[in-house]
Structures are given as structure tokens and as C-alpha cells.
Symmetry: C2
Subunit: 401 residues, 2 copies
């Protein structure tokens, strides 16, 4: 008899009817003989509504109190789901993050799980109960309620699965991981399997199904993840350790992101410390830099391009103003309509030629690219957003995605 | 520098604007030099909304899970109020019932406070913080979240005040304790002081300001209570130990309740155990009996009348059916339009003649009464609801209330 950790996101428990349906699914699975720990998020837009209330009172509400406030969202979900399970005749118990022993470190509203005191969960599972745990929350060593930030409920589920030596099933509003976002490429194929490394790259590149951090935890503790639809019983996608049978394809998926802007700084004097100063100034303002490309110095000057999140544009503008004052004579260009297109595949480790193929696709289709960066299992390109559709179709067809 | 425990009820924190106003009041008081612990209830109708959600799922939702569910209401209030206090520049911290060390025993949804581990509250008060505690909730010895049932937030406030050797201020939507409900007798006077014993009688007789249990705790630990309006700074009423200056009046207040029905059973055979059986059957169904009157046996038969809560009528009917089967020949009458009118006063202990005066008032005003019961400081009458207004005015005028 295996232990299964199932996670249901906010839209899956968004209404009373949906909660009743989820309860039926869980009950059916329990009847088949598995022990079940369920992790749930807050119902639908609950968290947003609570945050709005806080913002009506303060433009910068205290973060400890925000955690106190928004953690109520999951607490409502776990109570209602447990009531629904009991109504179906199944023994169940709800546990808040603190009650489930989720110990966190770090800052309020973006705490990290340090450890799980799994005793309470295990005892209740041992008594035959379905244990319903509030996702996204925990308790710090002073007894304060904390929340885990974006993707927090996934993280709770994966961490619990790691402690319980269980499989982690993530039920959501998409039915698995696709080679390409089906909204961009309608004939995209659903993957049966994807390995952790690929999924980390896909997630960090904008494939919105799961946050990078929870996949990283799964990888570290070797927790198999199954991503599937919460509303129907269709087959989903396994995220797990790479195995031989996965190797046949060079490219597993294609990710596209429109979330960045590209900054180009031309005519930076080629003196030691100038480029370092630029990135230091950006880093000290907590601006996350992604793709960086630099040309070789020419006539004593360097040109450099990098991408930053669109959401930081206001901050970036202020930092660039300061940089301009330090480095007189430089020229700054900002391009907002750029798209990052990446191909990901564990097969790239052993098979070469992907970059060459990509360059040929771009040339054949007259797509100009501005930057290229590579990792062991990924190649990313910055292109004009105008070329996005053409590029996605061309790459997806070439690699049979 | 004194410690003050202030309690604000659900209507006092019903909107974001009201929460902001309460924060200003608390801040002003803090500025005057007092240390402040605040107890708050859930915002407005929050608890009802949560209960409705549970009832949509189950007609008999699990009580542990109900506690998990409805305790979120106060948690939202404490977080928002603390954010509001911090926005005003005051240091504050919110604590859930469990975090405030409210240890409970007894059943879910109607737990009782067993003890308070006051350390966390005291430490934070010692650091100069305004401590905002969630009313109505606690934690049992297994770590489950519990709620205290009706009047629970008052109980939290009084119990905290007892532990902190503080005064307890209850801010609500009435501006104090009145001699008579002003809706029934418009010239009723507001009391400056009322003693615990009188207030317990008044509360248990339906004077809706506070629940009996919290006044009993205040009496046991000698916690002075101050009841006043939350929206304005008008003088309220002190509930405290009896002192000499209070003694001048024989009758402090008049309470009226329409919450009961009266059952009369005629022609019960005067055999040992028959009457006991009647009350045993009612008690085993958790039906609370209030006023009992019995006539002396006549020709081998007894007539007996008693009142029970209107809300138990359905259950009472079923029990009476059973009793009828056991005691053939009895006749049962149920009167639904009855009112219980009580006069309360600590002065009755030392001054006689109140009963005589009451009988005369009833006779002069041609008011028929069905039952009389007395305690040391109270006399209660059951009358027809039709006579209520006439009786209230006559009694209030006679005793100058």
C-alpha cells in the first residue's frame, strides 16, 4: 500500500461544487487502497481578495501580518474539503501548515521549507485517515505563521512526498506538460515523461505549470511527480529521473517567454571594472538579469546586451540613469518587443548539432535573432516578438514536437 | 502603567473603515501610556458566511473541521487590525488563540478555556507592542484548533485580563448596561455600575450585552469589566465587585425574555418517580428547563408547569409524545406566547418587600402571571406576551428604573 501526496490548486477548489468533486476523486482513490495525503491551495481568488483588503489599509502592509492574513485562505479550503470527505463517509483530518510540521526559514511571504516534522501527518495516515494539509504555509522557529511565496503549495506537496517517500501528484487546470504551449502551436504533443533537468529548464523559461523550486526539491529527493488535470481522469505527464527510454529525442520541448525586455549599452570604455559596475548596480537593486551577450572590445569600446524582467522596467530605468552619469558617452537602447525562445532536451548532452540546426531554421525563415545563450541541455534565443509565431511553428515542425 | 484588555466585537470591525477607526482609538489610548492587549472577533457576518459554506457540503459538518474553518474569521481581523496599527506608526503584533496560549478543554465548537500560557502575550507587551489576539479560539492538548462557542470573544478577553491582572473593556454596539432594555422602555436609565451577581442574573435572563459565562469568569477572578460603545467615546457601565455605594437601590434592573415556551402537564398520578421521569427524559435530550412550578397533590394527581427554550420546541414535542405513552391520562398544554419578566437587585438580599410590591403592581394593572420563581437577588414571573409592555412600564416606573 503506497502513500500518495495529491495537490489541488486554487482553481480546482474554486467553488463548493468543485470541492465536492475533488472529494469524490480522492475517495475513489482511497477506496483503491492507497494512503492519501492531500495538499490544497486557497479557493480561487481568495488570496487576491485578502491582499486587496490589506492594501486598502496600507500601501506597504507588514509582511508577518500578511502571512497571518493570507494563510487563512488555505485553512478554509482544508476544512471544507475534509468536511466533504467525511460527508462521503471517509475518515479525514485537516492540518494547517504549522500542524503538519512544516518548519520554515527566511523572510515572511517568501519563506523556505527548512524541514518537516512529519510525525503528526504519519500518525494520522497510520490511523487510516486521509490527511488534508494546507499548502503554501508553515511556521518559523519563533512560532510565527509563514507563507512560501509563489508556487508554495507545489513545494509543500513535493516536500511532504519527499518525507513520506511518496509519489507526488499535481492536479491542475492543464492536463500535462506539452512540447510547446498549445496556445502557440495547436498540434503540440503532450509528453508522457520529462526528466527533472528538462522540467527545471522548461519551468524557468516560462512553462507555467510548475515553479522551478518545487521541481528542484523533487529532483534532490528523487520524488516522482505526476502532473494531470483535476477535472477529468486523463493521462498526464510524469516528471522523474532520466531513464534510457527517454533518450531517443534530442529536443523535449520548446519554451517561449515574452516577460523580458532587452537593454543594450554601446560604447562602454574598455576599462577594468566598468562592466562589473553595471551589473553590480543592477544586482544591488534586486534586478534579475537573464541573457547576457557581449561583443569583443573594438577600438577600446565594448557593446553589451542583457535581458531583465518587464516588471522591473521602472527600477531598471532609474539604475540606467545612474549608470549614464558614471559612464559618459555610452548609448543605451531598450527593446521591449522581444521574445525568448528556448529549446530544451536532455538529449543535447550527448547529441550535437542542435545549435547548427537552429541557426539554419532561423536563416531559412528569415528570422533575425539578437542573442544566443546555451546550457548543457538548453539553447535560448532572443528574437523580435513579431517573429514569434513563425519561429515557434518552424522549430516545432523541425524537431517534431 | 496599567495593562488594559480591550475587546471589539464583530460589528465594530465589520468593514475596513471601521478597522481603521478602531486602530485610531487604540493608538490614542496607547499614547496615553497604557499597555494594551486587544481581542477581536471576526468581521461582521464572516462566521455566518463560513458556516453556510460548510452547510452547503454537509447538513452535519464535522465539528473539529468547523473550528478549523470558522477560526479563520478572527485570524483575518487580527491581521488587518495589526496592519492598521502599524500603518499609524505603532508597534503591534497579532496572535491567534493558539499562539496566545489559550488552552481549552471540552468539545469542539463549544470548548472551555482551561488555562492560558500567558508568556507570549507578556513578552510582546514587555517589548512595547500592542498585542492583538484572536478572540473565540484556542488550542486543545492535542494541538487541534478549538472555538469557544457563543460569547467566546468576551470570554477570551476576560480570561486574558484575569491572567494579566488587567481591566477588561468590552466595546460593542450598545453604550452600556441599562436598567431596562431601552427598546421596551424608552426612558430607561444607563447604569454607571452593576455588580457581578446582578449582571450574571441580567445576562442569563436575556440582557444581550454579554454572555453569562464571561461574567462568571470575571467574578471568579475579580476582573473589572467596562462595557461601552465602540464608535463613540461616551461613558459606559462598570461591572465589578459590589461596593457600598451601590447598595441604595433595591432593584438594579429589569430583564424581559420571549425566548421560552411554557409546558403544563396536568393530572400526573402522584406516584414516586413520575415527575422525576419527566425531567429525566427532558434532561437526557439536552433540553434546558428554566422555571418550574408545581401544585400540591390534589385527589392523587399533580399539575406541573415548566418553561423550555423555543428553539427546542421540535425536540420537546417528541419527548412529550414519549411521556404521554408512559403516563396515560395526563393532559399536556403548550403556551407559546409567554414572556419571562425578572427584576434583579443585590439590594433584595437585605431589603424585603420586593415580591409584595410586584404582586401589587400586577394586581393594580390587572396582569395575570402564571409562574413565579425567586433567587436571592431576583424574582421572575411568567406572563402573557400581550401584557409585556404594560408590565414593563409599570414595574420600571414603580422601581424608578
Amino acid at each position: 500500500m503506497a502513500i500518495v501526496v495529491q495537490k489541488y490548486g486554487g482553481t480546482s477548489v474554486g467553488t463548493i461544487d468543485k470541492i465536492k468533486n475533488i472529494a469524490k476523486r480522492i475517495a475513489k482513490r482511497k477506496k483503491q487502497g492507497d494512503d492519501i495525503v492531500v495538499v490544497v491551495s486557497a479557493m480561487g481568488k481568495t488570496t487576491d481578495i485578502l491582499l486587496e483588503m490589506a492594501n486598502e489599509i496600507s500601501s506597504n502592509p507588514d509582511k508577518r501580518e500578511l502571512d497571518m492574513l493570507i494563510s487563512t485562505g488555505e485553512q478554509v479550503s482544508i476544512a471544507l474539503l475534509t468536511i466533504a470527505l467525511k460527508e462521503l463517509g471517509y475518515d479525514a483530518i485537516s492540518l494547517t501548515g504549522p500542524q503538519a510540521g512544516i518548519i520554515t526559514v527566511g523572510f515572511h511571504t517568501k519563506a523556505r521549507i527548512d524541514d518537516i516534522d512529519i510525525k503528526n501527518v504519519k500518525t494520522n495516515v497510520g490511523r487510516g485517515k486521509i490527511v488534508v494539509v494546507a499548502g503554501f504555509q508553515g511556521v518559523d522557529e519563533e512560532g510565527n505563521i509563514t507563507t512560501l511565496g509563489r508556487g508554495g503549495s507545489d513545494t509543500t506537496a513535493v516536500a511532504l512526498a519527499a518525507k513520506l517517500d511518496a509519489i507526488c501528484e499535481i492536479y491542475t487546470d492543464v492536463d500535462g506538460i506539452y512540447t510547446v504551449d498549445p496556445r502557440l502551436f495547436s498540434t503540440a504533443k503532450k509528453l508522457d515523461n520529462i526528466c527533472y533537468e528538462e522540467m527545471v529548464e522548461m519551468a524557468s523559461l516560462g512553462a507555467g505549470v510548475m515553479e522551478t523550486r518545487s521541481i528542484e526539491i523533487a529532483q534532490r529527493f528523487n520524488v516522482p511527480i505526476y502532473v494531470a488535470l483535476s477535472s477529468e481522469e486523463w493521462p498526464g505527464t510524469y516528471i522523474k529521473e532520466f531513464d534510457e527510454s527517454m533518450e531517443s529525442k534530442v529536443i523535449t520541448g520548446l519554451s517561449v517567454s515574452d516577460d523580458d525586455i532587452m537593454i543594450t549599452i554601446n560604447d562602454v570604455p574598455n576599462e577594468i571594472g566598468n562592466i562589473a559596475m553595471v551589473f553590480e548596480k543592477l544586482a544591488s537593486n534586486d534586478i534579475n538579469i537573464d541573457m547576457i551577450s557581449q561583443t569583443a572590445p573594438s577600438r577600446g569600446y565594448i557593446n553589451i546586451s542583457f535581458t531583465v524582467p518587464k516588471s522591473d522596467k521602472f527600477l531598471v530605468d532609474k539604475v540606467l540613469e545612474k549608470i549614464k552619469n558614471k559612464l559618459t558617452g555610452i548609448e543605451i537602447n531598450i527593446e521591449e518587443d522581444i521574445t525568448k525562445l528556448s529549446v530544451v532536451g536532455i538529449g543535447m548532452k550527448s547529441q550535437s548539432g542542435v545549435a547548427a540546426k537552429m541557426f539554419k531554421i532561423f536563416a531559412d525563415n528569415k528570422i533575425e535573432f539578437k542573442q544566443v545563450t546555451t546550457s548543457e541541455i538548453r539553447i535560448s534565443y532572443t528574437i523580435n516578438t513579431n517573429d514569434k509565431e513563425k519561429a515557434v511553428v518552424a522549430v516545432a515542425k523541425e524537431f517534431n514536437l
